[in-house]
Symmetry: C4
Subunit: 209 residues, 4 copies
């Protein structure tokens, strides 16, 4: 009987981590490439330079939003990967889907920064976050079903991981609905949601989210 190629393919968790670290590192650096320095020929005084830079300040909001998004999903993916006993090729491909959605984030961010008050740009950004969360959830659900996670990660740990993704995505969905009516308010809500997860305040209510 012939050996099946898929039995030996893609079983290395460390490679998924290394590829992901590269993807997140480039995505974060690419975000900053959208901050253009003012045209040298148009600037003649310190005041003009300050004014030109001040005009770019609103771009800091989408940038901050995306840095937090990247950080949140990088930590989230890591938490799941740390519970793995091993990988297989199906799980590897699910992580490649997760990674592929992450590579799109610099585009969504640029779109949001360029068209800050446009609902279309905001909804595409939200779709990017939603798809990333859905892909991450899929990696975990599959890993558990295929018995790729450590014995002690079943039960409580698994429930904590699933709950985290579902609650975070529910909060984003609320922010998205608000954003349909007022884009700026939607973005501010997104940032607050993420700051909550990043800072993880020790307030009893918020830290349960």
């Amino acid at each position: 009987m012939e050996m099946h190629y898929n039995r030996i393919a893609g079983d290395d968790v460390g490679r998924i981590e290394a590829l992901s670290d590269g993807i997140f590192a480039f995505a974060a650096t690419v975000l900053v490439l959208d901050f253009h320095t003012p045209e040298v020929s148009e600037i003649h005084t310190e005041a003009q330079l300050l004014a030109a830079l001040a005009a770019s300040v609103p771009r800091l909001l989408p940038w901050l939003l995306s840095m937090l998004t990247l950080g949140m999903f990088w930590v989230g993916q890591q938490t799941g990967l740390n519970q793995l006993e091993r990988s297989n090729r199906d799980l590897t491909w699910l992580h490649l889907v997760f990674i592929a959605v992450i590579t799109v984030l610099p585009f969504s961010t640029r779109l949001l920064a360029d068209f800050f008050t446009y609902r279309t740009a905001f909804m595409i950004y939200w779709a990017n976050i939603f798809l990333t969360g859905a892909a991450l959830y899929a990696t975990w659900a599959y890993a558990e079903r295929a018995r790729l996670i450590r014995e002690d990660a079943h039960g409580e740990v698994s429930r904590a991981i699933r709950r985290r993704i579902v609650i975070a995505q529910s909060l984003y969905a609320v922010g998205a609905v608000v954003g349909v009516f007022d884009v700026t308010l939607g973005i501010v809500l997104f940032i607050l949601i993420q700051l909550n997860y990043a800072v993880a305040p020790r307030l009893p209510v918020l830290s349960r989210l």
Copy 2:
């Protein structure tokens, strides 16, 4: 007698993996840089923004194609590397050739996206896939011949790896011939071939490929 430099050069599998992860991560991120946001000065309504974005939708097809190509070859290279006992400088250079062909993929992708209906662009894209597959096959054939692979990877495992590359490249060749007559159909065939390998359906016929 003098020591030979080549006896101590390039024997580290982990470094090949790390360099490759960087290459694949950067290539995947570069692919998205080809999605340009619409010119701010030309957009005044939500409808215009939607229309401008819709005009870019056909670029999603080459992007998807190349993400699948990258994923397939990343998994393929990993599968081979995992069977290695050690490397040597010749095998390292063969992997550098493989890596070099991968770095060209963003260029081939952009060409295909810009000149979607042109046979020239399609054939260059196919040549890129073919050369990548040929380089990958060479790394394995050499590794086996130079006895760099693990004892238990000879025989069945080796045949599975060779078979996988040869069958995949044969399918691409069929797609390439079809593409000479109808480029769009050729691209769709390529994507179907890759989706088959990525999704690895449990259908008896397809999963034997």
Copy 3:
């Protein structure tokens, strides 16, 4: 009682290192992208090419400055990480802040290169260095307080790490004050400070800094 997600999130020092290496590598490469080759259509003789290249020579100073900055903070972060027993999600997020400030450095560098004699550009560059140092100090102060560092890294090692950051930032602050009056002199001072740390001369006075 429910398990708390944050108890299992982000405890991997190796991932922080890998992500940081990607960030620093990309930042260093992006710095060179600001060196533009002369327009082919405008160059017709060797003398013209030399003249065009000579016009770019002043950009070497900000480039050198930023390469040294990257090197210094890469070594500095590494020194701290090497003392860690483990990480947790709060420390991971502090390192993400450190990383985020590093990704901004190519922008600050381009600004300084484009507006070499402008106080505004210089102060933004200094702010970037200051924020990086502050973030690095925060990672260490938190790691020590949260008992994440190795037993033997308390006391002397910890004091050496804190002293290094505080003294370096004090020297930069002096350079910043000088730069308010004379930007070029401020940049030269910055480079001298960093060369001192990079070369680490064995002069009794300087090597104590």
Copy 4:
């Protein structure tokens, strides 16, 4: 007595490797970014597309040259790092110098591709190779002097590593002198030298180089 910060800084060989892999990966990918696809608006037939692509073919020569340069120095650095017992901060900084010169290679390559027949571009390219070789030699000479290499790497191994760098740089110097009189011939010589090291033919004379 106070602890000296430099005693605990930068002693991690694995980090140097990881940072270098990132640098080489980006440099290799950036090289391909110089291949521009033809302007869509100017191409209307397959023949025009082929003609436009053919016009870029000469750029393949500098590209091949630089891919070989990157490969050679990546293998060369790896060979040295593999002999290390440990690192220290001085050796780390020497490797950062080596890395810094590598990041300049995409610029030198673009210059050579844009100004193919110009002696200035060729000499800058050669200077880049020379400085990279000199930095690599410095890392090894220092590592041996500071007793950072493994016991068994003294003597024969060390001589093989030094000889390799000195002979390679001597050959490049010959190519550089030839290039002063005929740039194209100089480039061809460079490529032949590197192909010799990459392919490492088993001819008695060449393989001793």
